[in-house]
Every structure is written in C-alpha cells, then in structure tokens.
Amino acid sequence: MAITASVIGLFLVLRRSSLFGDALSHVAFGGIAVGLVANVYPLWTALGFSALGALGITKLRQSTKIPADATVAILLSSGLAFGILLVSLSGGFTLDLFSFLFGSILLVSVSDTLAILAMTGAILAIVIVLYRQLMYITFDEEQAKVSGLHIAPLNYLFVVLASIAVVVSMRLVGILLVSALIVIPNVTALLLGKGFKKTALISVLVSVLSVMTGIAISYAFNLAPAGTIVLVSTGAFLITLAAKYSTKKKVSEKLIEETKS
C-alpha cells in the first residue's frame, strides 16, 4: 500500500494535483457507504465510485475551463456528501464505516490482503511499463503529444490507477488521511532526489519506513496506527527540510567567508 501510494503520488504531486488523492478518497467514501448499505464488499464499490469520479473529473478538466482545484473541490465535496446522505438514511455510522474513515490495518482480512496485493502488483507493473510516457506527460503534455503519445487515454489510465492506489491505501490510514500517505513521502523525496527514478525510489523508501515505524510505535504505545504513520511521515519530512536548509545555509556562509579572506 505504501509503495503504490508513493509511486502514484509522485506523479500527482508533480502535476500539482496533490489534493486529487484526497478527493478520490472522499468519493470512495460514497462508494463504501453504498457497499455497506447494499451488503456488497465495500472495497469493490469504493473502487467503482473512485474510478468513475476520477474519470468524470478528468473529462471535465479537459473539456471545460474550470480550474483544476475547483474540480477537485467538486469531486471531494459531492462524494463526501453522497456518502453522508446514504449513511444517514441507513441508520448512522457503524464500526465498519469508522474503520474506513480512520484506517484499520488490524482488521484487514486475508481476502482483503490478497486483493490489495493483486492490485498493488498490477499498478506497479503498469507504472514500470509506462514510466517514460507518464514522466513525459507530467513534464509537458504538449510536447508529449507532438512526440506521438496518446495523451487522453494515458491521463484516463493514470487517474484510474490513482483511484485504485487511493482505495488500497485507505485500509491502512483511512479516508481522512490517505492523501498524507500519497503526498508527504514524495515531498520529502523531492528534497533529496536527483533524477526522476531516484526520487521515486526514495519516496518508496520513505513511505515504507514511515509505515513500518508508525505501526511499530502505535503498537508499542497503543496509539492509532493511521495517525502515528502520518505523523512519522511528517516528522521525516520536517527533519529532511531542516537538514537540507541547514546544509544550504552553511555552504552559503562558507562561500561568503571565503570571499572575505
């Protein structure tokens, strides 16, 4: 889950769509509510809603001049509102619903795990195969189009992969915090990485270490795993930021000293 969130998240952050993951998770909430009410496995309904929402918003962005952040807000709020409405009609919040909102790694069943593993493998395989194309459309869509890439299908495929990554990650940190898992390790990696591939690998490393450390701490101190994971990830980002700017400051001061002597 950490791996797919970070890999997909790098493209989202660079496309300035960091909150797109948040929007997808809120739409997925609507899908989960449908699943719980209709007694269908919520993961599948969440996937369906999230993917449809992602495709719809992508089409809206491409066909109209509505700003990107506004489309994210539309998706986020309407998905959440739909879910809340459905929940209120069906009798209120249940333990199942709370586990999706706040994450429930301890409640992940064997069937969940297998499904998540299969989806993770599929996402990684597709990203590895289409890595250059995805990097190109992230860098400059216009130039990518001139070079012969089919931009619209690639964008649609990417947002479907993003929606799968979000739904898969929801089990770990919940709907409310999934965007943190997508964004924070990548922002940390961008401070460190030199090169697209290296940055992606660093992001995966940071993400996996944050998750493992967060789970260990939450177990040791009986804390909520989702919150602990995200705070560990945030801590890693702040430490990296401080270290980077401290290094830059020292180098600048040294250069100035050298000019004085």
Binding site: L14, R132, F139, Q143, V146, S147, K194, G195, F196, K197
Partner: protein, 243 residues
C-alpha cells in the same frame, strides 16, 4: 525537396479568424525565420503544423505527407515550444529530460550524450533540470528536440526570457545544427536582428501572410520594414486595448 508545404491554411477560434489563408513552403536545408507581432498567429500556425490543432482548413504537408493522413512524419520533427520555465521541483536530470525526446523503445545513452554534447551541456547531464539557469534549460530542451535525429526543427520563440550571452550561444548552435547536421529549421522570433543574420528565408505573418521570401528581400526593403513596424504597433495597441 520541400520539407514543409502550407497551402491556404485558415483557422478560427471562438469566433475569431486567427489564421487567414496562409501559404508558404520551406525547402530542405533552409532556416525560415517566422516573424510577426504578438497575436499574429505564429504559435497557432505551429500548433496546426504539429498536429496539436485540428479544425483548420487547407493542407499541411511535411516531407510530402499530409499530416492529417500520416502522423508518423512527426517522428522526424523536433519541437521546442515557447519557453515556460521548468518547475524547480521537477526532479528529472538533464539526461532524463533529453531521453524523452527519443521515440524508439531502446534509449541509447550515447545518443543522449551526443545531443547534450552538441548543445554544450554534457557536463551537466546529472543535474536536476529545474535547478539549471534559463539558458541552460533552453539548451537541454534543444538537446531533447534533436535527440531523435530530426530532419526538421520547429522552434517557437526559443530565446524568450534568456540573457544576451545565452541568446548568442543559442543562435550559434542553430547555425551549427543547420550546417553540420543539415537540419531544416523553422524558428519564430521577435529578434529581427538575429533573423536577419541567420535565416535564409523569412515569413512574416499577421493573421495572413504579409511577406514570404528571401531574408535580404525583406530587410533591404524600407517600405516592408515600415509596414511591419506599423502592423506590430497596431497589434500591440489592439492587445493593450482588449487587455
């Protein structure tokens, strides 16, 4: 051989006629300087030529192929759009960005290195492209445009926003690419001095074709220069009035 043939191309957008029956051709080995005021339609014409815009009337042929019928011709075309600064955060190295210009499945490191060497950026290949200066980024983008060994290079105001030294270096590079690698170049520019020095032919457009011919025919004709200058002022005032 005519590398590019534009035949009565017109294009309208949101009720405005942006291109009005433009016709010209470019022979192999030419450097065509495309000039015109802001809003003249240069970028729109390039977009039509590169298959980024459909919906135009008329015909555009590249290497004798109608681009509506055969998109494979773009495999031999290198393109550098009007410069937008690259995000400082973008983590790709110069080498990775140049590799994007190669359309074949097999990415040859030698080819990438060759392209970077031609533009004088080989020593910076491992630097993040977002951290390079404007002039250096521009050279990396040129390297990307030539990495696929194009026979035609289309450049949209490539010297915009970069310092004078970088501009001069860039113009020398253009000349080198044309003379040593025999690349045909179409280059939109506001720098009349540079166009006069480097281009073998000039196309001047302001929605319609104002002039097309040998460079010296344009720059040695005071009436043409005056008319161009006046049309530039009119276009400037039009843009100013309409915000």
């Amino acid at each position: 051989m005519q590398v590019v043939e534009i035949d009565r191309v017109s294009y309208a957008y949101s009720g405005n006629l942006v291109l009005d029956s433009i016709s010209f051709s470019i022979a192999e080995g030419d450097i065509l300087g495309m000039i015109g005021p802001n809003g003249a339609g240069k970028t729109t014409l390039f977009s039509c030529m590169l298959g980024l815009l459909g919906g135009y009337s008329g015909t555009i042929k590249i290497f004798d192929e109608d681009i509506r019928k055969n998109k494979k011709v773009f495999g031999s075309v290198g393109y550098m759009p009007q410069r937008k600064s690259i995000e400082t955060n973008f983590p790709a190295t110069a080498e990775e960005v140049v590799s994007l210009g190669i359309t074949s499945r097999r990415i040859s490191k030698e080819r990438i290195a060759g392209a970077l060497e031609i533009v004088g950026m080989l020593e910076h290949k491992d630097r993040r492209v977002g951290e390079l200066s404007g002039g250096q980024q521009q050279r990396v983008l040129i390297a990307k445009a030539i990495a696929n060994d194009p026979k035609l290079l289309i450049l949209d105001e490539p010297a915009l926003g970069i310092d004078l030294e970088s501009q001069n270096r860039f113009y020398s590079l253009l000349k080198k690419l044309n003379q040593e690698k025999k690349i045909t170049i179409i280059w939109a520019s506001h720098d009349l001095d540079a166009v006069n020095r480097l281009a073998s032919r000039v196309a001047c457009i302001n929605r319609s074709m104002f002039f097309h011919g040998e460079t010296h025919e344009f720059f040695e004709n005071p009436d043409l220069l005056k008319a161009y200058s006046e049309s530039s002022m009119q276009a400037h005032m039009h843009l100013h009035d309409h915000g």
